[in-house]
C-alpha cells in the first residue's frame, strides 16, 4: 500500500531544498554558457563563416537529437576512464576517487544549453530584416558596430520567450544528473526514502521544489521581459 505521510514528505522537502543550491548552480552555469556560446554559434552560423559554420550546423543538428541522459552516461564513462591519466598528466596530486564527477553534470548540461539556446538565438537573428544590417552599413557603421548597436538590441526581446523556455528545459534537465550519482534536488529528496520507503513523498517533494524554482525564475524574468519591449 502506498500511503502518504506528511512528516516524511516534509523531511524529503527539507533534504531536497538543502540541495537546491546545487541545482541552481548547475542551471545558472549552463544558462551562462548557453547564452554566451549559443550566441557565438548563432552569429557564426548567421554570418556563414566559412567551414566553421558548416561544422557547427552539423554539430548542433546532431546534438539536438542526442538524449541528455545518454549524453550524461557517455561523458561519465569517459570521465571515469580518463580521470586517472588526466590527474597523472597534470600532476593534480589528488586521488582518483576524490575526483568529483559533478564536472560531468556541468559539461553535459552546458552543452545541451548551448545547442538549444543557439537555435533560439539564431531564430531571433533570422527574424531581423536584412535592411536593418544594410542601413547600419550605409551610415558607416562597421559590421561589429551594426551587430552590437542595431541587431543585438533587436534580437533580445524576440529571443527572451524562447530562452526562458530553454531555461525551464535546463532546470528540468538538471534532475538527470542524479543518474551519475550527483546529489541535487531529486537525489536529495529521495535520501529519507531509503530509510522510510516513502518514495511517493520523496518524488512529490522533488516535483514541488522544481515547480517552485521554475515559477520563481519565470516570474523574475517576466519582469525583465516587460522592461525590454519599448519599441
Amino acid at each position: 500500500m502506498m500511503g502518504f505521510t506528511l512528516n516524511n514528505f516534509i523531511e524529503s522537502l527539507k533534504s531536497g531544498l538543502s540541495y537546491l543550491p546545487v541545482t541552481a548552480k548547475l542551471t545558472f552555469t549552463a544558462v551562462v554558457f548557453g547564452i554566451l556560446f549559443g550566441l557565438l554559434i548563432a552569429v557564426l552560423r548567421y554570418y556563414k563563416v566559412p567551414v566553421i559554420s558548416k561544422i557547427l550546423t552539423v554539430f548542433v543538428t546532431i546534438y539536438q537529437g542526442f538524449p541528455m541522459m545518454v549524453a550524461l552516461l557517455i561523458y561519465n564513462l569517459l570521465f571515469s576512464f580518463y580521470i586517472g591519466p588526466i590527474i597523472q598528466f597534470f600532476h593534480l596530486g589528488i586521488e582518483v576517487r576524490e575526483a568529483n564527477n559533478i564536472i560531468v553534470g556541468y559539461f553535459a548540461l552546458s552543452l545541451g544549453a548551448i545547442t538549444s539556446m543557439s537555435e533560439t538565438l539564431r531564430g531571433a537573428l533570422n527574424s531581423v530584416e536584412k535592411l536593418q544590417f544594410e542601413a547600419g552599413y550605409s551610415i558607416g557603421l562597421t559590421k561589429f558596430q551594426t551587430f552590437t548597436r542595431i541587431i543585438l538590441p533587436q534580437i533580445i526581446p524576440v529571443a527572451i520567450p524562447g530562452l526562458i523556455n530553454n531555461l525551464v528545459g535546463i532546470i528540468k534537465g538538471t534532475s538527470f544528473v542524479m543518474a551519475i550519482g550527483i546529489l541535487e534536488v531529486t537525489n536529495a529528496s529521495l535520501i529519507p526514502c531509503f530509510r522510510t520507503f516513502s518514495y511517493v513523498e520523496g518524488y512529490l517533494a522533488a516535483a514541488l521544489i522544481y515547480w517552485f524554482f521554475t515559477l520563481l525564475i519565470e516570474t523574475l524574468l517576466s519582469v525583465v521581459e516587460k522592461t525590454q519591449k519599448q519599441y
Binding site: L131, Q132, E134, A135, G136, Y137, S138, I139, G140, L141, T142, Q145, R149, I150, P153, Q154, Q230, Y231
Partner: protein
C-alpha cells in the same frame, strides 16, 4: 565629382550590370530610370558596397576605390562619404527618430554627442519632424519614416546621397510631400543619384537623366534630351509605357 567606371556584376549566371559607367558632377542630381530588373538598385548598392561588384572603380573627389577588391577600410571610408535612402526606409527599429540620425554621427564619425544631437535636431526641423523626435519608427507612418530616412542621410553630410525609389513604398497621397523634401535636398546643392519612376520630378529636378535597361546605360542626357528627343528605340518604348498619353511630351 563622383565617377563610376565599368561596373560589372553578376548573380550566378545572371549578368545584372554589364559595364556601367556614370559621371556625376558635384551638386548634380542624376535620375536613373529604367524598367524593373534593369539593375538600378544593384548599381546603387555596388556604389555603397552593399553589393560587391565583380569589376569597376568608384571615384569620389580625390579617392578612388576598386569596387571589387577594396579593403574593409576603403569600404568604410567610401560608406562614410555616401548615404543611402532606402525604398523601405530602413530606420533602426530599436532607435528613436533622433537616435536614428545621431547614430551615424556619434558611432561612425565620432562627433561629440551634444554636437550630434544639435545637428540632428536641426535636420529634423528641416524635414518637419521635430515633434516626432522621440518616436520609435513603428509609431510613424511611411511618409514620416521616409522623412527621417532622408534626414539621416542629410545629417551625415555625405558627398553623395543615393536614393533607391524613395517614394515607391508610400501611399500615393504621400508621394508628393516626400518628393518635396527630396527637392529641398537637391536645392541644398547636395550631389544625388536618384532611382525613381516619378517623371515630373525627374523633369523638374534632374540635371541629368540616365536610362538603364538590361544592365546597361542605354541613353543619358538632360531631361529635355531624354524625354523629348529620345534617340534609342528602347528609351522611346519605355517612355511610351510609363508616361500617360495625355501627358506625353512629344
Amino acid at each position: 565629382m563622383i565617377e563610376i567606371k565599368n561596373v560589372k556584376k553578376s548573380f550566378g549566371k545572371h549578368e545584372v550590370l554589364k559595364d556601367v559607367s556614370l559621371k556625376v558632377d558635384t551638386g548634380d542630381v542624376v535620375v536613373i530610370l529604367g524598367p524593373s530588373g534593369s539593375g538600378k538598385t544593384t548599381l546603387l548598392r555596388c556604389i555603397n558596397f552593399l553589393e560587391r561588384a565583380d569589376e569597376g572603380t568608384l571615384t569620389i573627389e580625390d579617392q578612388t576605390a576598386d569596387l571589387h577588391t577594396a579593403s574593409s577600410k576603403e569600404k568604410l571610408q567610401i560608406r562614410k562619404r555616401t548615404a543611402f535612402v532606402f525604398q523601405n526606409y530602413g530606420l533602426f527599429q530599436n532607435k528613436t527618430a533622433i537616435q536614428n540620425i545621431t547614430e551615424g554621427l556619434i558611432t561612425a564619425r565620432k562627433i561629440p554627442k551634444a554636437e550630434a544631437i544639435a545637428k540632428a535636431e536641426e535636420v529634423l526641423d528641416w524635414v518637419g519632424m521635430s515633434d516626432k523626435r522621440d518616436y520609435y519608427p513603428s509609431k510613424l507612418s511611411g511618409g514620416q519614416q521616409q522623412r527621417i530616412g532622408i534626414a539621416r542621410a542629410v545629417a551625415l553630410d555625405p558627398d553623395v546621397i543615393l536614393f533607391d525609389e524613395p517614394t515607391s513604398a508610400l501611399d500615393p497621397e504621400l508621394v508628393g510631400e516626400i518628393l518635396g523634401v527630396i527637392k529641398k535636398v537637391a536645392k541644398k546643392g547636395i550631389t544625388m543619384i536618384v532611382v525613381t519612376h516619378e517623371m515630373s520630378f525627374a523633369q523638374e529636378v534632374a540635371s541629368k537623366v540616365v536610362f538603364m535597361d538590361g544592365g546597361v546605360v542605354v541613353e543619358s542626357g538632360t531631361p529635355r534630351d531624354v524625354f523629348y528627343y529620345p534617340k534609342e528605340e528602347r528609351t522611346k518604348k519605355f517612355l511610351e509605357r510609363i508616361i500617360p498619353q495625355d501627358q506625353y511630351f512629344i
